[in-house]
Symmetry: C2
């Protein structure tokens, strides 16, 4: 029998009715003849509640003690789900990550999985049991409790799928798949049947928040198919796969966007690697994440540097940049607090030229000014004025007939 | 440095203010020069909440899965307390029972502690840390999570105290000690400074619900002093000790009572051990606990059996007894749904005769009819009409000048 791993998120575990609904889906998979391993998150809102309990005690809870309290949420979920499955007449057994032996490094709050002991899991599956495992958490070799960071249950599910050589990992969530663009922006966006790992990585890194980035990286590395689907229906969702051959050939798979961006420009400084390093070290030392970077040559000796940051970091980043501008004798330092990022993603671009020029022409035809451009072999990212992002996403979605 | 174990119950952990208050008490003990190990319960009400979550899923949750969910309550408490102690500038570390290695048998919901691994505890204490351990829970050799039953945190604390050869176990609760009688019944009842283990066992078994019975048994067996005291003050509470010599010699240490009793009498049956065994096997097979038992001889061949049960079991017990009465050809089967138990307890009785006669005379003088009497070498239990219990407790409390 093939093993499938199912992962249910917090909204699927929010209350007793939800838990019973999940139990039915799990039992149905078992009755279809699969060996079923289920990975669950804490009930929706519970992790936030625990964090706020900790914050009532201290502004700076230690990472170890925070993990100690956070790990309880998933433990509640696995117990309730095991009870609900047993109530339906199937045998089930729940395991914490310590019981399984989901071994991580010791980086509290953002631990990485190093190994998974499959002995107990295979034994329980061999006894015909449905196995339920607490996601998001791990344990070090010294039995210290760790957590993998927000969204870490997706990563738990993929890692367990890999360890058990599962046929696929089903990730159940509150959307029914991955869309060619955000349906709130593009009304005729449609759910994709397939997407490649590489495309999904670009989508996840560019605003499509349906899958935890690390889980996709892990799936890609181990060629573990992910089936992202809705926990509220039985409809097929989107498969994330390595098999381009199976997919319809398209130039562009989808358009992702983010609107929480701000842009800063340091104009006309000496083009030395020392200067460029100083800029990004200063920003990074202030714990500000830089996203898109462009550098424009004025001549061989002088350049203009632009970069984007999250809008909530804009004021601090602009202040630091003005200071840098003075030190580096820049002509000018200025910013735009409201820009957006539009990302055109598709493995088809690799082998087909002219996609970028079609993007630029399309945006020009629709009077969208492109502020910055950055490209990889499967991703063209355009930074535009925030007011223009919807127009840009719709225009590109139409241009490539998604 | 001497090790002391402190145990705080659920009301002491109810909210963030309570947790901070406990942290201060713990740090004060550390600053007084002790190595401090703290055992905590789940926040008040949280265990009940978890049980009701389980009951929403199924009427009959499996013992294993119930333990899985119940163990989360103490895990939340240990984490918050460790954070609160660190916020006060002392180093602290929390451990689940699985992390320590509090090994129990596999009887879910009522497990017994078999062994405690002290390695991690002694190492952390050696590093100057305050050690915080989840009470109530244990783990089998196979890492199955177990719980010790309601009130089990007291037992956890004593077992840890014994394993660490602690100087004493302080049990913090919402009363300030053990009283010579229930102060709600006897206004001039006073807190005792000392009580022996044996007396405490009789008190705990006779309605004084301040300490979990198993914890006292374990302390007695290992001669581990318990100091029962209030978590809301620094006042000395009551020491439970083996050292009679240190205590003021008294005939009677205290008067305990219960009011939730009912009495059943099966009158005039053949005096055979087979008959007596049949009666108590029938009642016990129905999962009804029998408390006080007396048998009165009518002549050498015929006896009358009386016993008490909890009031909520009265109807079922009476029905079974009437059936038994018919089979055993009893003259009559009758009951009293409302009786009370008054227990006079003191190790001084062992060596002093005449206590029982003083009790009977005292009650007679106050017009309290004694329905049943049962005695051990340190306990005289009188069953009286429920309306008379307060009069009886007050009269005896005065008679022995408690």
């Amino acid at each position: 029998m093939s093993i499938i791993v199912q992962k249910y998120g917090g909204t699927s575990m929010a209350n007793s009715e939800c838990v019973k609904n999940v139990a039915e889906k799990v039992v149905n998979a078992k009755l279809r003849g699969h060996d079923v391993v289920v990975v669950v998150s804490a009930p929706a809102g519970f992790t936030d509640h625990l964090v706020s309990r900790a914050k009532e005690i201290t502004d700076k809870p230690s990472g170890r003690e925070l993990d100690m309290i956070l790990a309880t949420g998933e433990q509640i979920s696995i117990s309730l789900l095991a009870m609900a499955i047993k109530a339906l007449g199937e045998d089930a057994i729940s395991f914490t990550s310590a019981q399984v032996g989901i071994i991580t490094d010791g980086n509290h709050n953002k631990a990485k999985i190093e190994a998974i002991n499959t002995d107990k899991l295979l034994k329980a599956l061999g006894e015909g049991k449905i196995v339920i495992i607490a996601g998001f958490q791990g344990v070090t070799k010294d039995l210290e409790i760790t957590t993998l960071g927000r969204g870490g249950s997706d990563t738990s599910a993929v890692a367990i799928g890999v360890a058990l050589d599962a046929a696929e990992v089903e990730i159940y969530t509150d959307v029914d798949g991955i869309y060619t663009a955000d349906p709130r922006v593009v009304p005729n966006a449609h759910k994709m049947d397939y997407i490649t790992f590489d495309e999904m990585l670009e989508m996840a890194g560019s605003g499509a928040k349906v899958l935890h980035l690390r889980s996709v990286e892990l799936a890609a590395k181990n060629n573990m198919p992910i089936h992202l689907r809705s926990s509220f229906s039985d409809a097929i969702g989107t498969y994330v796969l390595d098999e381009e051959d199976k997919m319809e050939h398209v130039l562009v798979r989808g358009v992702a966007h983010t609107t929480n961006n701000a842009k800063i420009t340091i104009a006309n400084i000496d083009n030395t690697s020392k200067n460029i390093a100083l800029i990004f070290k200063t920003i990074s030392d202030a714990n500000i994440n830089v996203d898109v970077i462009t550098q424009n040559y004025i001549n061989i000796d002088r350049i203009t540097i632009s970069f984007t940051v999250a809008q909530e970091e804009y004021d601090r980043a602009l202040e630091l940049s003005k200071d840098l501008g003075r030190r580096l004798k820049a002509d000018e330092v200025y910013g735009n607090e409201k820009v957006a990022k539009v990302c055109i993603i598709g493995v088809g671009m690799k082998s087909t030229s002219g996609v970028a020029s079609r993007v630029f022409t399309c945006l020009a035809d629709h009077n969208v000014a492109i502020d910055m451009v950055s490209t990889s072999d499967i991703n063209i990212t355009c930074v535009v004025n925030q007011d223009d992002y919807a127009k840009a996403v719709i225009a590109i979605h139409n241009e490539f007939e998604l």
